[in-house]
Symmetry: none
Subunit: 200 residues, 4 copies
């Protein structure tokens, strides 16, 4: 039913990112996306099953691009620390350079109903897995504490970076998002690396 490929498919995706970033998902009419993409209203339904499908597909496409790009970068990295730094930098830089994508993924995408979450959680899980692999690698390399829980560390890492992006999106972006890569990395890596136990 939904074609999910072809020139117009991506034209609609791109139009959707732009329009939804500007007006928000619920305020965006399918007709608006269609006009921005330069196609007829009905054409949208050749490529997508329904409005929500645009949002999910959009996320899948963006996320696939994101993870693919990240994987490429990671190939050139040595140890886990370098990789972690790369992940954070890449995450912040990518969204800084694509503010529309940032807005859609940080804000609008969280507006979707239960069922859809399945559609977006899969590609997100790929990213999560990637982060966890790096942290596990760091443990193997003796860089991070052996008692570090990989999953918790991943949540903290992703949550930290994610919140930093959200704050930047919600603000009028008066600063460079990527400039926070260093401080955030610093904080996280110190939290994870071997060393003396903090006293409460």
């Amino acid at each position: 039913m939904a074609r999910r490929t072809g020139e117009k498919y991506f034209a609609i995706i791109d139009a959707a990112v732009k329009i939804i970033a500007r007006h928000g998902y619920h305020r965006t009419r399918v007709a608006d996306i269609a006009r921005e993409a330069g196609v007829a209203d009905g054409t949208v339904y050749i490529y997508f099953t329904k409005k929500e499908d645009i949002l999910v597909s959009l996320f899948q496409v963006l996320m696939a691009r994101f993870v693919d790009g990240l994987r490429l970068k990671l190939e050139h990295c040595g140890n886990a620390n370098e990789k972690l730094k790369t992940i954070i930098t890449y995450h912040l830089t990518t969204l800084e350079n694509n503010p529309d994508q940032a807005r859609v993924t940080q804000i609008e995408l969280r507006q979707i109903d239960e069922e859809i979450n399945e559609g977006i959680s899969k590609p997100l899980l790929d990213y999560f897995k990637l982060i966890e692999e790096v942290i596990a690698e760091g443990k193997e390399q003796g860089l991070y504490r052996q008692d570090l829980d990989v999953r918790t560390a991943r949540k903290v890492t992703f949550g930290a970076v994610d919140e930093v992006v959200t704050c930047w999106v919600m603000s009028k972006k008066p600063y460079n998002l990527s400039s926070l890569a260093g401080p955030v990395f610093n904080l996280l890596v110190r939290g994870m690396q071997a060393g003396p136990v903090p006293q409460e």
Copy 2:
């Protein structure tokens, strides 16, 4: 116009938390909330200006309760580390004990349009400010690095805790949320405290 007080005001707030947690904000009809609260549809508009106003008010009420409760707890704490641990534990425990509130604040509240954000950002800022105060206090007490950027550290802290909650809400909650307080605190406090610089 909106009364914002009285028995029915809170009845509607409570009903809204319950219903929105269960069905999501956009799928919830004002009539549903009214029925759950045991009032007529029109009555809702005596206490709230519009549907979104319920969501904002709800958040303000919950957040005020939350911060008030937290302040109380913090009075019994000694140094910043203790306070930070308290914040994290309180945050996780509160939402663990109020899963409806957790769902609404983690998921549904992020669905609101631009303008509303003002309404929710103020009470959230109170919380942010509180966290930042504790971190600043830690720096003064020599517990945390002097070059630690307080604002970034707050984002990382809040983002980490927030993500942990989101994961718990999105999962079928098969584990104790509050049990993550220790590991998360551990990670964050290590990241912030004085010590050797990590090598990349």
Copy 3:
């Protein structure tokens, strides 16, 4: 959900009969019916679940009125012949006096999808049962052949009258529909009554 009673319920039913008779069911918009009934579009959906529900309800109301009226007439009849004559006359007279009802029941009502047929078949069955009772009575009274199959006779009777009405509706109605009551009755009663077997 659907209120199915009250002043506006019947106002909408009456409006629907009029508009659907004039333009046909599929060409009639809900908005047209609403306007004719003097209510808002949305009001229609307080009283009916969906467009098709109007059609079904309309038929049920008309049919109930019809059968009730017929039962009243039959009380004054003596034997089965008299009753059969009354049925045919009443059927033709009623639809002759309510051409809109005639059009809707003869033409438009046959346009509905499978499922709906249940809604219309029940009230129709009441009418069928009534005809069959009269025919059975005629057999008991010795007026009609003992080997007459009641069900077949009912189908022939109803089919004959129904076709006569349909022809009248489809034509520009240049003649009195009720004037056909005599000839049709004559034909049917001769067909049913005791007598010599026809040779082929």
Copy 4:
């Protein structure tokens, strides 16, 4: 514009009968018919002017086949009674053997808008005329009453047979349709033949 001939013309007609019988005219999309016929959507519009045209054409083709077949049968008949019996039997047998055709002509074809009726009334009139000829012949042969109105008798005859078919289509067809030919003929011929006047 419409070609109205060729292999694909009939392929589309046959596909339409099948699909419309199964799903109903209004639920059937032109694309469905095209797929069933094994042609592209656009191809349908080479052979038919619009969707309704398929329905009309379909009826004309089926009706022409029907009347042609009937004429052939009637050649072997002697008097009017025999012919009438043949008509009824042929009508019931044909539709019994072609349930899809039965459904389309009994139910779906009655769903069409005003204008189309012209398209279907012509071939139907041929059939009507044929029935009337037989009844008139019966009068000339002295088999039927001289005061019998031919047109009314035709309506009663057709209506009776038609209703019998409709009942069979609407039911789950648990009996042989053609087995009703005898009883129906019996009833109708008794109604028409010379004999004593029934007392009311």
